[in-house]
């Protein structure tokens, strides 16, 4: 069951200040090490005895992981706090769905502590920021002592709490490509109370000419083992003039294509039923945000 008052696990804490130091530590300690950033997920996992590291490596002191830069694409260091990403999205409406997702996390304290890389590496099927990043076609840059690679986010998630990260690798940054013109995006979720973990969530990025959907990307969260893109619905909508009939058709397809479970937060029945209206509302909001 664990102890929520103290940490019973004994470990050494190390806080490297450069990437080479970090990679050397990951190589030296191997599976005995766990990376920690904001701690909002790792510390509860320690309390519940889900993880038992001998070494905790804090990556938040590495300046390179704490910076945001833009060169066409937006590069967000993996240890940039959710608070700073949220502020950036508030000033740049292009990334509206990411702003929505971070806004929906709710607890100011968690937004101050948690990091974008942490939110992704946790690989929760219900992760809010991950779903928004998925429809923005984000990629993650992973660095290991053997070199680095860039992985599209939809290939990064392998299952609940499972990622494509190899032992010894660390996430360096999240890359969000420039958003094409005439695109609007939105994220919405349904939780028991405001700020709660999603029962079901939806993110949409749509490019439109005012009447037709030129292209779109649709993601659904907490309805499968990972945050999922909905390629069937994306194809169905692309090139179509958007009216109530088309939206009904798309919503039916969403409800058919998701694979929700019944768990502590909701039921399969409820998730499938509510997916239709959640998708329609999210799509509608993204559509209204298209800049013309």
């Amino acid at each position: 069951m664990g102890n929520t008052r103290i940490l019973t696990r004994e470990f050494e804490y190390v806080a490297p200040e450069t990437m080479p130091e970090l990679l050397a530590l990951l190589d030296r300690y191997g599976p005995a090490a766990t990376i920690i950033a904001g701690g909002t997920d790792v510390v509860p996992q320690l309390k519940y005895e889900k993880i038992s590291p001998d070494y905790l490596i804090d990556v938040t002191k590495i300046a390179e992981l704490r910076t945001v830069r833009r060169d066409g694409a937006l590069h967000i260091g993996a240890a940039v706090r959710l608070r700073d990403v949220k502020a950036y999205c508030r000033d740049n409406e292009t990334y509206a769905c990411l702003g929505d997702a971070l806004g929906s996390i709710g607890q100011a304290q968690v937004v101050n502590m948690g990091t974008l890389g942490g939110n992704i590496c946790t690989a929760s099927p219900a992760a809010d920021s991950a779903l928004a990043l998925l429809v923005l076609e984000a990629r993650v840059r992973l660095i290991g002592s053997g070199g680095e690679r860039v992985v599209p986010l939809d290939a990064f998630f392998r299952g609940p709490k499972m990622t494509g990260m190899e032992p010894g690798e660390v996430m360096a940054e999240i890359q969000v490509p420039a958003v094409v013109d005439h695109t609007g995006s939105a994220f919405r979720k349904i939780g028991r109370v405001a700020g709660d973990i999603s029962k079901i969530s939806c993110a949409v990025a749509v490019q439109s000419d005012g009447e037709r959907c030129l292209s779109c990307r649709i993601g659904m969260g907490a309805v499968g083992p990972t945050p999922m893109r909905m390629p069937g619905v994306e194809q169905l909508l692309s090139g179509r003039a958007i009216d109530a009939g088309v939206m009904d058709e798309a919503a039916d397809r969403i409800a058919a294509d998701i694979s929700p479970l019944t768990d502590v937060r909701s039921t399969e029945f409820y998730r499938r039923r509510v997916s239709r209206v959640l998708f329609k509302d999210t799509f509608d909001q993204a559509w209204k945000r298209v800049q013309r």
């Binding site: 929520t4 008052r5 103290i6 470990f11 806080a15 701690g39 608070r83 607890q107 100011a108 101050n112």
Partner: protein, 155 residues
């Protein structure tokens, strides 16, 4: 046996150097090493906001924070909110005037969240106040009086 390390903190304006183990949580260092028991241990899992303190001016959850990770930080707990002469902060006065305290367990976290909010937004709307307190649970007041108290501090 873990090695202990000395961390340097400024807590409520005072320089302290507690000796802590790597797995020591900030909430326990504040309460047990520094005897600042105003910060509450409540849910222990980051859901209720009762252990909120300001680290470098920003609210965080001390039950999910390793003390070693905040080495060098400036920390404000509820004990540092009143003025050194003992006179209360206007937020504390407002909580008393509005009856915003019942059992009092959530109050330190609520007051620190209010300090943070008013520092950035001197006259917050009711909606903004409720939004800002979303991560702080109260089982007594129904929140109404807390929201009113904070609203009354606005200019």
């Amino acid at each position: 046996m873990m090695t202990k390390r000395r961390v340097t903190l400024t807590v409520n304006g005072e320089h302290v150097e507690p000796l802590v183990e790597a797995n020591a949580l900030l909430v326990n260092v504040l309460r047990e090493e520094l005897q600042l028991t105003g910060t509450k241990y409540c849910c222990g899992t980051g859901q209720c906001g009762g252990c909120t303190v300001l680290v470098n001016g920003e609210p965080i959850l001390s039950c999910l924070t390793l003390a070693v990770a905040v080495d060098g930080a400036d920390i404000l707990t509820i004990e540092g909110v009143a003025k050194p002469d003992g006179s209360l902060d206007p937020i504390q006065e407002a909580f008393l005037d509005h009856g915003a305290v019942q059992c009092g367990f959530c109050t330190p976290g609520m007051i620190l969240m209010a300090k943070d909010l008013l520092a950035h937004d001197p006259s917050p709307s009711e909606e903004r106040i409720r939004e800002h307190l979303r991560g702080n649970l109260c089982r007594c007041t129904g929140y109404h009086r807390i929201v009113k108290a904070i609203g009354s501090c606005g200019q």
